[in-house]
């Protein structure tokens, strides 16, 4: 077993923590904890990018770290918390299928994602290329979370978690996208959240609840 430098070990650890958080979000029932887990995921993401920036001497990545911290650890969770308070949401959310089955499906998806990522990570020349599989796995887990949830806010958090996974994929495969693109993506995410906030109020006004079963009337 060859010697891996300390910072690469730390990044591997953070990647594993990210995957664990994705599973935890999948199995979590309470919305408040979901938001905190999402913030924790953002923090793990920012730390891993910071370590990469430090170890590979790329100061422009620090901007990315700052952006992630401000947006995903502070701003978005704060918006979500306020939204929950105003909407007065206190659910114990039951998904479409029970939790052990969801977890098993999650494991299958993780294996699939690892398989998919293997040829790409062999082609990459970054030191963090092994974590690409984990990034893809967390994207798929977030997608699973979106499908199996029935209430609006966990679906949205799944959407944001998917974006987290994609961001991690970008950092691990290519040391981050160009700054312009990252700023654009961050702006999009923020605007999406704001629009959703308005949207939730409209839904609640109309249906008096945020259960998405009300939103399944339109068929072919």
């Amino acid at each position: 077993m060859q010697h891996i430098p300390l910072w690469a070990q730390l990044i591997n650890l953070l990647a594993a923590v990210l995957l664990l958080l994705a599973f935890a979000m999948l199995a979590q029932r309470r919305v408040l904890t979901l938001i905190n887990l999402f913030a924790a995921q953002g923090f793990a993401l920012a730390s891993s990018t910071a370590i990469v920036a430090f170890a590979t001497h790329q100061p422009h990545l620090y901007w990315s770290v700052g952006l992630t911290l401000v947006l995903k650890v502070m701003l978005l969770p704060w918006l979500l918390h306020r939204l929950i308070l105003k909407l007065d949401v206190r659910w114990d959310v039951e998904g479409l299928i029970n939790i052990p089955t969801t977890m098993l499906l999650g494991i299958v998806l993780v294996v699939f994602a690892f398989n998919l990522a293997l040829p790409i990570s062999q082609l990459a020349n970054t030191v963090t290329r092994a974590t690409l599989g984990i990034a893809m796995a967390s994207v798929m887990l977030a997608f699973l979370m979106m499908i199996t949830r029935r209430k609006a806010i966990p679906q949205v958090i799944g959407f944001l978690a998917m974006e987290n996974g994609l961001f991690f994929a970008a950092t691990s495969a290519t040391y981050g996208m160009p700054m312009v693109v990252e700023l654009g993506i961050a702006l999009d995410v923020l605007v999406a959240m704001l629009i959703l906030g308005v949207f939730f109020f409209q839904i609640r006004e109309q249906f008096d609840s945020l259960d998405l079963q009300h939103l399944e009337k339109l068929k072919e």
Partner: protein
């Protein structure tokens, strides 16, 4: 430089202005004015490209060549005609009590922002910015679809947001993979995402990565094109939003999404030397055509009917681009243009027809021609045009596509012909009683704006008979580019 500034900057300024005054009496006129200036800028850009050929503007940030210049002009033009149509339409809606001044303000400013995002997506050279613009286009229209705040419109907007959001996330992953493949050759930094640079090195890009990237990009942007099986949001969004929004969604956004797909296809084909990308596009296109034509038979709502018709036509265009070759690509480009014009004309007529009848259900609309000959004939001619009757432009492009298909993909031809036949029967049988016969509709408080309808149909007729040389030249050049 100044033209692109006009094309992009004017809508943004207009959006800001309308965010303040969009609820007042003259807002609709301001909207039309802003669109007019944008269109003028687009025309100036077009003239420049005719004269000088493909342009790289603002240190390679924007790239205007034969493929996207006519799309830019088309977008600006249809935006202009839609704003002309929306003026009386929204006024009637306001008087019927469906809209408040606040919502009208939202509508006008979002309309301009939507125009901006589409024009940005068309003119940018940076694939990452293309993604940002597509996502922004989705976001600007979410609130527009739920404008009426009915349960159905909220559901439509939610589906639209979630499905398109997930799709766009796949496209983001595809873009990341593209960047990953390009970074090795072009170095890190902004250059690796520029389409012109990617195009010049596409032969050396890693094939496995690019095929995987294309799958994600096709699924992602294909969701916004409305390809089956990712089309679920489309009928709802088109049916529940206000008609001007349906017109621009159908006429413009689908085109822009397909443009993004085709740009990616060009890159992938250069790298992966097999017909992988083509087969995928043909498969999705054919599936869309068949499924949409079958679902057309079950529709009761007029806007949903024409939304499925949009899915069908986008399927035909995707199939044409998938076949490739000079004739099929030429036909595909022509079809993009005429479909956009015809479909938006139909939606204009449908909008006023539904306002007259007070319902969107086709059973409730009868005998339009008796009360308002303009609307009745507009709808009838538009329906005939979209169904591929000669001498309209749609016939020309469908004919070219079918003959190429008989040559190169004979197995697909019976499916295409069958689907086109089914949709002809479905739409024609529905439109005929709506236009002729006993009437159930009432007069409208304001005069409907039918000029845009006939202008569009006139252009489509002209394109069916004679294509201006510069346009034909662009189509050929773009077809060569697309391959």
């Amino acid at each position: 430089m100044i033209e692109i500034l006009a094309v992009l900057g004017v809508p943004v300024a207009g959006a800001a202005l309308l965010a303040l005054v969009g609820g007042r009496a003259r807002a609709a006129e301001i909207n039309v004015g802003v669109c007019l200036i944008t269109f003028a800028g687009a025309v100036a850009l077009t003239v420049r490209v005719i004269g000088e050929g493909p342009l790289l503007i603002a240190s390679k940030l924007f790239f205007v060549d034969s493929f996207n210049v006519f799309l830019i002009a088309l977008t600006a033009f249809v935006g202009l005609t839609t704003s002309i149509f929306s003026r009386p339409y929204m006024r009637i809606e306001q008087e019927l009590g469906h809209l408040t001044p606040g919502r009208l303000r939202l509508y006008h400013s979002m309309f301009q922002l939507f125009n901006f995002t589409m024009l940005l997506a068309l003119s940018t050279n940076n694939m990452g910015l293309l993604w940002v613009a597509m996502e922004a286009a989705t976001l600007t229209t979410v609130l527009l679809i739920s404008l009426y705040r009915t349960p159905a419109s909220l559901e439509a907007a939610w589906k639209y947001f979630i499905l398109c959001g997930v799709g766009i996330a796949q496209a983001l992953f595809g873009t990341i993979l593209l960047y990953f493949a390009a970074e090795k050759l072009l170095g890190a930094g902004g250059n690796a995402l520029l389409w012109t640079e990617l195009n010049s090195v596409k032969g050396a890009l890693e094939p496995t990565v690019l095929s995987l990237a294309f799958v994600f990009l096709l699924v992602g942007y294909g969701t916004k094109v409305g390809l089956v099986p990712l089309h679920n949001w489309l009928p709802d969004a088109h049916a529940e939003g206000p008609t001007p929004v349906s017109a621009v969604l159908s006429g413009l956004l689908l085109n822009v999404a397909l443009y993004a797909v085709v740009r990616c296809k060009v890159l992938v084909e250069g790298s992966v030397q097999t017909s992988f990308a083509r087969t995928l596009m043909m498969g999705f296109g054919l599936l869309s055509v068949v499924v949409a034509s079958l679902l057309l038979l079950r529709q009761k709502d007029i806007k949903r009917l024409f939304a499925y018709s949009s899915i069908e036509h986008m399927g035909i265009i995707t199939f044409a681009f998938g076949m490739g070759g000079p004739i099929a690509s030429f036909a595909g480009l022509l079809h993009m243009t005429v479909h956009s014009l015809t479909k938006s004309a139909i939606f204009f007529a449908v909008g006023h027809a539904t306002q007259k009848a007070g319902t969107q259900l086709m059973d409730g609309i009868r005998g339009l021609v008796t009360i308002s000959p303009l609307i009745g004939w507009g709808l009838a001619v538009g329906a005939l045009a979209i169904l591929g009757m000669p001498p309209f432009g749609v016939f020309a492009s469908e004919f070219l596509i079918l003959t190429t298909a008989i040559h190169e993909q004979p197995w697909a031809t019976p499916l295409l012909l069958g689907a086109l036949g089914i949709s002809f029967a479905a739409i024609f049988s529905r439109v005929q009683p709506m236009v002729f016969g006993e009437t159930t509709v009432k007069r409208l408080p304001h005069r409907p704006a039918m000029i845009p309808v006939f202008v569009h149909l006139g252009i489509v007729l002209m394109l069916g008979l004679w294509i201006p040389p510069f346009l034909a030249d662009w189509y050929r050049q773009a077809a060569r580019l697309i391959g």
